[in-house]
């Protein structure tokens, strides 16, 4: 073999060695994944299959991150605090078993953030303790990076109004300001048949079943049909929101309670606390049994004040009530029915109101987690609607689905809006996020997965040249 051939072979080998040394950079895919406009959050350890993403509660602040939300398991005692940093990175912090010992190994299906505290605390609802027909509500304050010595053990919340054996106690939870005192948050605890209100730490009164409050014949139906489909029986919807100006204060909220049923018609009740007493302002029956399964309030005109309510009626419809804040209960706006085309499967299972197109005002997002998408049964999707004044109807303007839909992925099992603060310095300092740096982003839960959308609206008709920026952009 001649010397030139040997040298050529040697050069070939060195070339291959160089290839081997340089090679392909596989870490660029990690960087690219981090830059993806949607962050997929997988199930932390301990969650059962098809469990994570079905109980999601956004938190008002990031608790040391740009955003944070709480996920619980529907099949075990697992509570996870998921933090999203300003770059889109995700970190999951599981609440230890010792911190949840009060749950007695029961599932925690409802979570509500108690506003006002620093850090804020959580209400944890466990409607079936030790698999029995009674529930329990716990208060829990996740560890605060700025206060490492705090007690982070969940405590049982005693509610004398409901009694310790009230079936399904904690199936629905809400917290807010119902009586006009902004310094102290009020709790709303729902059991299978009752709604109990704790105002400023003092039990007020309880609405039981079909309760007539206030001026007859107004009656708010707050009973809950625990016999309905298991898909809907996990928790009951209770929404504390301010849809019109209450003369008692700028922070006073109204209470919206859904009462879906297995048969008959579901109802939506509007309650308020006046003089320390929970009263019924209005009640409306929906067209279907599952009416009232999902509730969300939004700002249609972008003035910063909520002015419409979305009510889901899983099956084929959702309803939008708009006209507030000019109207005050018992006056009610006319309902705008939304029926998808083609027909859905569980359309209305989850609803949200969020500005996804960058134009002033929120759009209505309605999910159908069992819809067939891309030929995949049960893949699920979210449809986006916007009010068309000319037609006086809600018009679909977009659709959100997983990039790679999968069978029984149940995309849209939960829909939430998450506050995202892109000001990393403020976040690091624990300061209040500057309004200019605060964005509201979409959180879509699926079976075993949660999608965090840092950018939505690319396919939604917008004025020419307008683009929807990534909330992570500086």
């Amino acid at each position: 073999m001649g010397t030139p051939t040997r040298l050529a072979t040697l050069a070939f080998s060195l070339l291959l060695l160089a290839f081997g040394a340089v090679g392909c950079n596989w870490t660029k895919f990690d960087d690219q994944a981090a830059d993806a406009p949607v962050r997929s959050v997988g199930a932390p350890s301990g969650f059962d299959s098809h469990d994570f993403g079905k109980s999601i509660t956004p938190l008002s602040t990031g608790r040391g991150s740009a955003a944070a939300f709480v996920a619980t398991s529907l099949n075990g005692t697992h509570v996870v605090l998921v933090k999203v940093d300003s770059g889109g990175g995700v970190k999951s912090e599981a609440v230890s078993d010792s911190a949840l010992v009060a749950a007695e190994s029961s599932t925690i299906t409802s979570v509500a953030e108690i506003p006002g505290g620093t850090p804020t605390s959580l209400l944890l609802g466990s409607p079936r303790v030790r698999d029995q027909d009674f529930g329990r509500v716990l208060t829990y304050t996740p560890p605060d990076p700025a206060n490492s010595g705090m007690d982070d053990t969940a405590k049982t919340l005693l509610i004398p109004l409901l009694g310790s054996n009230d079936p399904g106690m904690g199936r629905g939870l809400a917290a807010g300001y119902l009586d006009g005192v902004a310094e102290t948050a009020d709790y709303v605890i729902g059991s299978d048949n009752e709604i109990a209100v704790v105002i400023d730490g003092v039990p007020a009164n309880t609405a039981v079943g079909t309760t007539t409050v206030g001026v007859a014949p107004l009656a708010c139906d707050v009973s809950y049909d625990a016999q309905q489909d298991n898909r809907f029986a996990v928790r009951r919807p209770i929404l504390a929101a301010r849809l019109w100006a209450d003369p008692r204060g700028a922070a006073v909220q109204q209470l919206f309670v859904g009462a879906p049923r297995a048969t008959g018609t579901g109802t939506l009740s509007i309650l308020t606390v006046a003089n320390g007493t929970l009263g019924c302002l209005a009640s409306m029956a929906g067209p279907s049994a599952e009416f009232g399964h999902a509730l969300a309030a939004g700002d249609a005109n972008g003035d910063g004040v909520n002015d419409f309510l979305v009510v889901g009626a899983p099956g084929q419809q959702a309803f939008v009530y708009q006209g507030w804040p000019a109207l005050v209960a018992p006056a009610l706006p006319a309902a705008l029915a939304i029926t998808p085309t083609p027909m859905g499967v569980d359309f209305g299972f989850a609803v949200a109101a969020l500005n996804v197109d960058g134009l002033p005002g929120d759009e209505v997002l309605i999910s159908d987690p069992r819809a067939t998408v891309g030929g995949k049964t049960g893949a699920g999707h979210v449809l986006i609607y916007k009010f068309d004044p000319a037609a006086n109807a809600m018009v679909q303007v977009g659709e959100i689905a997983a990039h790679s839909p999968d069978t029984d992925e149940n995309f849209g099992y939960t829909l939430n809006v998450l506050n995202f603060c892109r000001d990393a310095a403020a976040v690091a300092a624990g300061a209040v996020c500057p309004p200019a740096a605060l964005s509201r982003i979409l959180l879509v839960g699926a079976a075993n997965e949660v999608f965090v959308y840092f950018r939505v609206g690319d396919n939604i008709p917008t004025p020419a040249g307008q683009t929807v920026a990534d909330v992570r952009a500086p």
Binding site: T5, T9, F19, G20, N25, Q32, H403, S404, V456
Partner: protein
Amino acid sequence: MIRMGLGRARGRRRPDRPQGGAGAVTSAFERSLARAGAAAALIGVLVALGGTAVAQMAPVVAPPVAGGEAAPDADLQAAKAEFETAQTLFIRDQYDQAAAHFLDAFARKPFSAFLFNAAVSYEKAQKLEKAAEFFQKYLDREPGAPDAASVKTRIEALRTILAPPAMPGVPGTTPAPVTPAALPALETKGLVVIDSKPQGATIYLDNKTNGVFAKTPWQGSLESKPVKLLLEAKGFKPEERSISPRSDKLVDVYIALSEEHFLGWVEIVSNVPGADVFIDRKDIGAIGKTPFTGHLKPGKHTVFLDRIGFKPVQQEIDVLPGTATQHMIKLEKSDDGWINVAGRGAYGASVSVDGKLACAAPCRTEVAPGVHRVVVRKGGFEDYEAELRVDRGAETTVEVSWSPRPSKRTAYVTAAVAAAFLGGGLYVGYLSNKNHDGVQNDIKASSAGPVTMVDSNDPRFSRGKWEAVGADVLFGVAALLAVSATVSFFSHGPDSVAAVDQRVIGFGPGVSSDGAGLAAWGRF
């Protein structure tokens, strides 16, 4: 010109020769004896006994040539006819008639082989007394024949058989019971007759380097195989012809040499005999060794003499037509040495000395005294390389023991696999980059239809990542294989070795059959 006869049909006549009689066997025989007795020259025959095929020569008496002018020989043709008739009868077991015809042939031409053949025929005919008689006549004419001893033994054996039985009752007088069947089988002899015009030409067989065979005229037996005859006579053009002697035939070769006055006769001698002689060109090979004689065309010629241990010499000679000249060329001892690559394995090897191709082995190359780097290469084997010292006037003989070069097949296969892995790596890397670019485009570009924006769990990330990892693995494996292939390509077996001997070539005074002079010698 050449005239050559084989058998009766191809015979020719020599009108200047007296026609032999066709009388009785005895009278013809006696006439031939009388003519043979007048001849003074010696003739030689080859005698084959017991079926052996060994060629033997014996001088024979040359027939008289009237006026020195050769002519067609009618007696020879008649003798040939008789000879072939006798051979035919012999083959048919008609031995009496065969013997008579052999004797008729002898009557025509007194070749002693005819007597021998007649004796063999009589023995076959159980006429042992006549057989012994003609064996004895054969011996009388060929006392120095190579087979004389065996013929004499045969005569004694025949006479023992013919002797009267011993006296009964007398111990020790009973002869051994010998019968003709117990004697070794005998076959008749073939005959080759070579004559020329003029007679006295030198006969060479096959090649002049074999030396002088005989002078014409010559008759005798040769081995039964094709042979080339070369005839030369001073002042005549050399002739050469091929013949095929047979044991049952009389081959008659007559060559009339042409007088070639335009050629010159040269004799080239050197102080050291045995030097290779080249005329005008060396590339066509040596035409003989010194002392060399032959004809050359008139004019100037260049004579080259080569002799190991001596400097090559070339000398211009001038050849005149019709003349005979002798040229003495002196060889001087060489100042150089030699490298001789020899041995059975040398064929197919090339020899380089000091980086220059010297010759194709087996070969000898002349080099200046000193140390030389010698490289002997042969396909499929490791090279032999050595620094060899060559002394003045010495020959260094190199006999290489070749070490097989390891097969490069594994290296080629490994390199091919490495290339395949490289190709696979490039392809998988291409897929990875394609994934990356596709995802990047999806991330940046607005999508039409549903908002199916890329999420961080997009399978293309993991696919592209694993493809990148796979590509790197393939690159790595390819690199390792390439290194392995390189090592294989560079690896070699044990070096070829050689037995190196050096002998000193000298020269000094010497005496040989060719004469006295300087002789080369070697010390090993």
